[in-house]
């Protein structure tokens, strides 16, 4: 237990010591998205009877939760691998399950801190009420956990920073940007609507948004089931890789 707590604390401090870069910067990015898209579209678009700028905020919050949870675990692991400091966590008797839990939890905490930061920075521009806070929290936790676990796989798999960047730019970015952060999928042509249902991030954004407005494209129970199932599958895969020592222990 002490090993897990220490590794969690170390992972937390690792991003907290550079929080200007790891927390403040993504908040600013989300704020810029809001200002630009909100300014251009707010007077022309309503979604589910909600002003566009209000519709946009929960999507941006969730997008940053997911991207930062991924960034935390993946960057920590690849930095440690490339600098060689990974030996400090491989030499001690830390069970692989504790290793997994510490990295995922720290990454989720970073994601949530960024999410709260985005919410606080954008709340001035939109009228928001959280009508179902437990749904919001559930989607943030399981979505963040899923992306933290994906970040671990990416960090362990990557041997160079550009491999990790490819994972981020060609998988994580498209999945999050094309998930309904900026639009309701029912504004899309039928083919793209259908395709969006194969993107698990769509369910995270849609369910998270349900917590704010009480309306969503898909029933929140269905969305949560999809997200929890994906989280369980990716977690099991990550645990299996850690148990084997894949790309960590030669």
């Amino acid at each position: 237990m002490i090993g897990f707590l220490t590794l969690f604390e170390k992972e937390f401090l690792r991003f907290w010591k550079v929080s200007f870069q790891t927390v403040a910067a993504p908040v600013l990015t989300a704020l810029l998205y809001l200002l630009i898209f909100g300014h251009v579209l707010d007077e022309h678009v309503q979604v589910h009877g909600v002003r566009y700028i209000s519709f946009l905020v929960p999507g941006l919050v969730m997008m940053q939760v997911l991207q930062n949870a991924f960034a935390n675990s993946s960057s920590s692991l690849i930095q440690a691998k490339i600098t060689g400091s990974i030996v400090f966590v491989l030499l001690p008797p830390i069970p692989y399950s504790a290793f997994f839990a510490a990295y995922v939890l720290a990454a989720v905490v970073r994601g949530l801190l960024v999410g709260v930061g985005v919410l606080l920075a954008t709340v001035w521009f939109a009228e928001l009420k959280v009508v179902a806070p437990w749904w919001t929290l559930a989607f943030a936790l399981f979505g963040g956990g899923l992306f933290a676990a994906l970040g671990m796989i990416a960090g362990i798999w990557s041997e160079k920073f550009d491999q990790l960047a490819a994972f981020q730019n060609f998988l994580i970015m498209p999945l999050t940007m094309l998930s309904g952060v900026f639009y309701s999928i029912y504004t899309l042509p039928t083919f793209w609507q259908g395709l969006s249902h194969y993107n698990p991030v769509f369910y995270m954004i849609d369910g998270f948004r349900y917590g704010f407005f009480g309306v969503s494209d898909v029933a929140p129970e269905t969305s949560l089931a999809v997200v929890v199932a994906c989280f369980a599958a990716v977690s099991m895969l990550t645990l299996r890789l850690l148990k084997r020592g894949w790309k960590l222990r030669g």
Binding site: I2, G3, L5, K10, R249
Partner: protein, 239 residues
């Protein structure tokens, strides 16, 4: 008495390269043991296998009777390893680094021992300095300190004095000798053969993944009268 380290017929390949070709040896508790050989002999692969960083293709390794794979938690708790590479975590200062390393081994509130290690390694004045700001020699000392935070009975030093000035070497060896005197088993790999000659009671010479000589330092030297360990090393490698 259970050997501090028992290595039985360990084989390891990296692709087509055979890094370890059936290594077997026992290291007794309290020994100051030297593992010597040219680059590529398999020393670091053997140490990495002992530390659980590499999984051998076959064979077994145990630390104080605990298998490094089957009973890895206990085996790792009993082992302290100073890695060859000069690695550090740039986010933390020296004291934080050592507290974190203690925590990984399940130890909280370890400041008394940490202070003692810092004192012996002449790092006390650097306790609050970020790792990035330390010289290479200082970073090497922190690596030694990290290996000792959990007071392991078996300590592995993989080239601990590479790139380290004479003064630090002397201080380091004084401290390691003290630990050995207190009963810690020391396993040393080094390219400084005069250090191995002065410190180790028993030496294994490795070549191409095999142990080609294993004896007390005195017996190895006696077999080549008048020769230094360096000359013994060269002759053995040429045979």
């Amino acid at each position: 008495m259970i050997p501090a380290v028992s290595i039985v017929d360990v084989v390891k390949h990296f692709g087509s390269l055979q890094a370890l070709a059936g290594v077997s040896l026992d290291i007794e508790q309290g020994e100051f043991f030297g593992l010597l050989g040219p680059n590529g002999a398999g020393k670091t692969t053997l140490i990495s296998s002992l530390a659980g960083l590499i999984r051998p293709d076959s064979g077994t390794i145990s630390v104080m009777g605990h298998d490094v794979i089957g009973d890895f938690r206990e085996a790792r708790r009993l082992l302290g390893v100073v890695p060859q590479e000069l690695v550090f975590d740039p986010f933390f200062n020296v004291r934080e680094t050592l507290r974190i390393q203690s925590g990984y081994f399940g130890i909280r509130k370890n400041d008394d021992w940490i202070d003692e290690i810092l004192e012996h390694l002449d790092l006390a004045s650097k306790a609050d300095v970020n790792m990035r700001r330390l010289s290479g020699g200082m970073k090497r000392r922190v690596l030694v300190a990290q290996a000792l935070v959990h007071r392991p009975p078996v300590i592995v030093l993989d080239e601990p004095t590479a790139g380290v000035d004479v003064e630090l070497r002397q201080g380091l060896w004084q401290f390691i000798r003290r630990l050995n005197g207190e009963g810690h088993t020391i396993i040393l790999t080094t390219h400084y053969l005069e250090e191995a000659e002065a410190l180790c009671n028993r030496i294994a010479l490795m070549k191409q993944g095999r142990v080609i000589a294993l004896d007390t330092t005195a017996n190895l030297m006696a077999a080549h009268p008048g020769a230094s360990l360096e000359q013994v090393f060269v002759r053995t490698m040429q045979q």
